[in-house]
Structure formats: C-alpha cells, structure tokens
Symmetry: C2
Subunit: 337 residues, 2 copies
Amino acid sequence: MSNKQKETIYDIAAKAGASASTVSAALNGTWKKRRISQKTAERIIKIAREQGYTTNNQARALRTSRSGLVALLVPEYNRFFSNIAQTFSQEVRARNLCPVIISTERDPEEERHVVSDLTNWQIDSVFFVGSVAPDDLSRQCQDAAIPHVFLDQPCALAPSVVTDNRAGARMLTEQILASLPPQSGEGLRDQIYFLGGDRTLPSTYNRIEGFSDAMCAQDVALHPSQIIAETYNKDAATRAIEALYAELGGLPRGLFINSDSVFEGTMRFVAGLPEKELRACAFGCFDYEPFGQLLRFPVHMVRQRHRTLVERAFWLLENNSPPVLEQVVPELYPAEF
Amino acid sequence: MSNKQKETIYDIAAKAGASASTVSAALNGTWKKRRISQKTAERIIKIAREQGYTTNNQARALRTSRSGLVALLVPEYNRFFSNIAQTFSQEVRARNLCPVIISTERDPEEERHVVSDLTNWQIDSVFFVGSVAPDDLSRQCQDAAIPHVFLDQPCALAPSVVTDNRAGARMLTEQILASLPPQSGEGLRDQIYFLGGDRTLPSTYNRIEGFSDAMCAQDVALHPSQIIAETYNKDAATRAIEALYAELGGLPRGLFINSDSVFEGTMRFVAGLPEKELRACAFGCFDYEPFGQLLRFPVHMVRQRHRTLVERAFWLLENNSPPVLEQVVPELYPAEF
DNA sequence: CCGCCTTGCACAATCGATGTTGCAAAGCAT
DNA sequence: ATGCTTTGCAACATCGATTGTGCAAGGCGG
C-alpha cells in the first residue's frame, strides 16, 4: 500500500490520464456537480485507492478555510472532564472530523492563548468546558467567526449547556434530609453543612440555591455559616472539614459535598474517623465517584449526564443556536444502605 | 485588537511598505539569515503586533510540511491515561506545539484509521499509549516518516517507555505477603490470587512474573489456578471475584488486583462483605486510586510514574532513539493501617 | 446542414507562508 | 572612476487541493 512518499492529486491525475481538478472532484464527491462522468470518477477513485492516496489536510484547509478540526477546552483531566472528553471524541469522530482536546489548567491567560492558537488552525468550532472567563473567550471566537458553545460553565454571549445545578442540589439535599441520623442534641452539630466550591461561580451559586430550596421546603433553618464555599481545592477541603470538625466537636448531622475533588479532600480526613461518628452524618456528594459507593458509610451522589450535555451542545452548535442556556437535570444515585 | 477578518503577511507588507517575503522573514525570526536590516525587521514586527497579526498554520504547514501538531493516542480516558494526557499536554505546550489527544477505544481498526488521519495532518510525532497493535502502527508511522514512541505497551520496532511491571508487581506482592492475615486453615482459601488483566499482553505477563518472583523468594507455593488473568473488563472482574468467593467459600488470604478497572469491579462485590471477612484478606492493587485508601480495609497500591514515563518518552523522541525499551519503576503506596 | 444546448473535462487562479534567486545600491579597495 | 564585494530587499515559484471559467465534442430540433 503506502510505500514511499505521499502522493498528490497530480500523481493520481497522471496515472489516470486526467487533470488534477477532475481528480479532486472525483475524490471529494463533488464530481456530480462538476459534471464529471461516472465512469471517469470511478476510474479515478479506483486508482486512488490502489495507490493508497489520502488528501493533504493542510492544503484543503488552506483552500477552503475549514480545517475539519473541532476543539474541546477543559480545565484539567478529572473524572467528569475526562468523561466529557470521551463523549466529545466519539461525537466528533462520528462526524468524520478530528477532535482536539486541550487543557488550560484554569488559567485565563492560557485560555486566551489556546483560542488564538486554534484560530490560526482555522478550527471549525470550539467547545468550552468549565471555562474561567467565558465572555472574553466568546468575544475572541466571535471576532474570528468561530462557532462555539459552552458546557458546564455558561456564557451569556453564546449557547450554553449546563447541568441543572439547582435541581440537582435540591434532589441531593432532599436525599440527605431523608436519611438523617438521629439528632445529637448538641446544637450546631445538628445542622447540615454545604462544603466546597466557589460561590462566585454560577454552578456553585445554583447548587447553594438548590440546597436552600430543599431546606426551606422542609422548614429546616439555614444560617450562612453553614455554607462553606470558597474553593474546589482538594487540600483546602481537607483543612475545611478538619476545622469544622474541631469547631463542632464532631461531624455535622449532614454534609453536602460539592464536587469530586472536595469529596476526595474531605474523605481524607473523614475516613479516619470511627464508624460510629460516620454513621452520625448523612453524606451527599454533587459528583459521581464509583468508589464513593464502596465506603463504609452511605454517600448519596448526583451524577451529571455528560453524554446528554455533549449531545445537546452539538445540537445547539449545528443548529446555529442563539445564546440560549440549556439545563440538563442530573441523576441521583442514592446510597444503597 | 482583532476586529474583522484575518490579516495576512500581504496586508502587513502593504502597511509596512515591504514585500511579503520580507514580512515573513521578519516575523518568523529568519530575518538575520535573510539579511533583512534590524530596523526593517523591528518596524514590521511592531506593525504586525499592532494589527494583531497571527500566522495561518495551514499555510505554514503546507509549505514547510511540518504541522506543529503532536498526537497522543489513548485507548480511553481512565485515571491513568488521563494523567498521561495531562502531562503530555503540558510538555507539548511547553515546546510551543499543539497537543492532539485522541482515544481509539482499543480498536485496532480505529487505531490504523486515526494514524492515517494524522498522517494527512503531517503530524510531527505520535505518542502511543497502551496500543493494541503496536507493530502495525509503528510500520505505518515509518512509512510516513513520522517519529513515534510507545508508552505503557511496548513495541519492538520503536522506542518504548513502560512501567517496570515486574519490579512493581514484586514490590506489591511483597507488601501483600508482609501484611497477610492469620491463616484460616482452609486450604485453598489460604492462597494468594492474582486477578485481572490479559496474560497475552506484556504488561500483565510481566506483572505475573513479578508476582511469582515474590512468591518464590519467600517459598510460597503457587499454582496456575491462582492466576486469573483473562481481561481488564470491570464487569468480568465482578463475576470473577464472585466465582472465586463461591469456590473458596470466602475471600482468599491475599488478592493481587491488576488495574483500576478490575479494582472497581472487584470492590463492587467485595465492599458488600462483612468487616470480618474483609480483614481476612490482604489486598493489593496495581494502580493508584485515591479512594482505595479510604476503604474500610487496607489496600496496598502501586502507582505508575506518569510524569516520568512521559518525560522519558519525549527524551527518546527528541534524541532520535533507536528502538530501545525503557522501564520506569513505579511507586509503592502501602496502606496505612 | 446550422444554431443551440448539454455533457465532460482541462486550465489557471487561489488560499497564505516560505525560501530561492536576482538585482539594485552601497561600501571599499585600487 | 573602475571593479568587486556586501548589504538589503523584491520577485517569483512552490506546497496540494479547490473552484470559477472556458472550450471542444456530442446530441437535437428545425
């Protein structure tokens, strides 16, 4: 098959006794429109196949100014983003395009830089997941006329698909409330705490709303101090739960954990506690972590529907959606014991 | 800055009162060699910056036949591969190139297809992680003169970097042996089992060797039936441990779990067992899973040094290494209780 | 047999950057 | 002033595929 260097349409043209333009038309499927006879087209296609010809994407992209590349920008490769990436890849490849996945380390400067890089590649479209500075990025894409869509973290200037964080948080909170252990009678410890995330981000904000919704609906009092949402950082989460434990003199009666990283950080401390203390707290985690179901105490979880998120994002993109915000309700995984 | 369409060197040339070739030289740094005066070069660079000019990568790639793209092929996005992807991205971007990460779903056909696709993009080099059919891929790359390197799964035809699975498995097995619970006295149940993986793959093969090494070194008898290594599949792992449990009438005295997916599958069954039974088995997992340390029973783990693997792979690639096999010894994470 | 419409294809321009070649002007020695 | 070397840059061909245009041969009506 492919033996030496790359062949061009000119080589094929010579071998087929046709012109390069005819070969091009035959191979890219436009031959009908270009009034090339079926016989000629088939002959050329056969020869091209025999020679193992494949088209030079740069040349095509240069001419058509469409690269056939679709980019996904993720902050990092955690479980959730990796799932998104996986689904994204499948969808892109199903469309005969090439997925380009880049992590930006949550750095706005890096995000800008990557987008400008992608612009130079004449990227067909861009999916932003959990971007730090959506508005800037959207403007950048608009300037370059690149269709784009936001996932997980919405943008007012472009179509966005996000998890219905409020509904999810409400579901999770209700589940926590439904499985509360008996009261300890020690005041603060009988409260339910919300831990982790960044309250300045819409996702965290909405989860806090959902949390409050559920509490209100059941007439449970809620004081601002019960919401500890400064960061998604794992180590910070460990410190936060330690501090809370020290302050309350034990675990609270319920704990809403706002992401897998916070979950991991929290568990690092919590897992060392005696069985009895663990049983005195109802845990919920807004993220799905399979091992969470295998701990020695129940943890309710909420899982984002990553496939749906990606599919809807494609739909919006391919239908030239205006800047709408779509919300996808997540799934509840109640602990089984 | 960037207001409308993309500018070309011709636009800049017009604005600078110079020719396109001069602009090109000024902007890509070859102006000294091309005997462009420093004054002219600086003037052009200044104008280009003001206009927010950025170069069209397709055009450059077409002309130079170097794309500036570096690809990573992964089977899927699990924890290990995602870590590799993360490190890979950082290294590539540090070199001012563009990382392209593609998952092939462990499908040899898909692998071939992707490589041929990448060839058409004039990819600068390719990293294969855990490939199914390394030899074919290597030949494909050689035909296209694409430098490439294999990680995790070695290839005889190209430089490869893999974890020293044998040494790692030996370390892990020794740790299991060192923490064995007291004998039950019930024959088969006092044995140690190796679970998961695919014995036809070098990685599994070498881990089995390491497992045997450690057993031999301590004069522990080992029968072929103690090695159950047909697949990495999660569900199959659940079934396998269930079957083993049924056959032995309980957990074995020690269990070597060969990967995170198998770990997850095994735990799905095991986590439901009573505390006492769990304490009667020493668990080791050849993969690192943070939640593994938080289970209600100790699990020793071995963690592959993904950063080192990637760094060595780059080194081999950039130094035009012949087809050598480099082994990186993994890290042992003994359970803490 | 003549004009006219298809059919079938070749030609050539083009996308934007690179790099080779050529050619003035400047510098220098004699 | 003459000849020779440098310096500084513009012209032009090129990478490979796409696409607008032109033109010949064939078909058909009158």
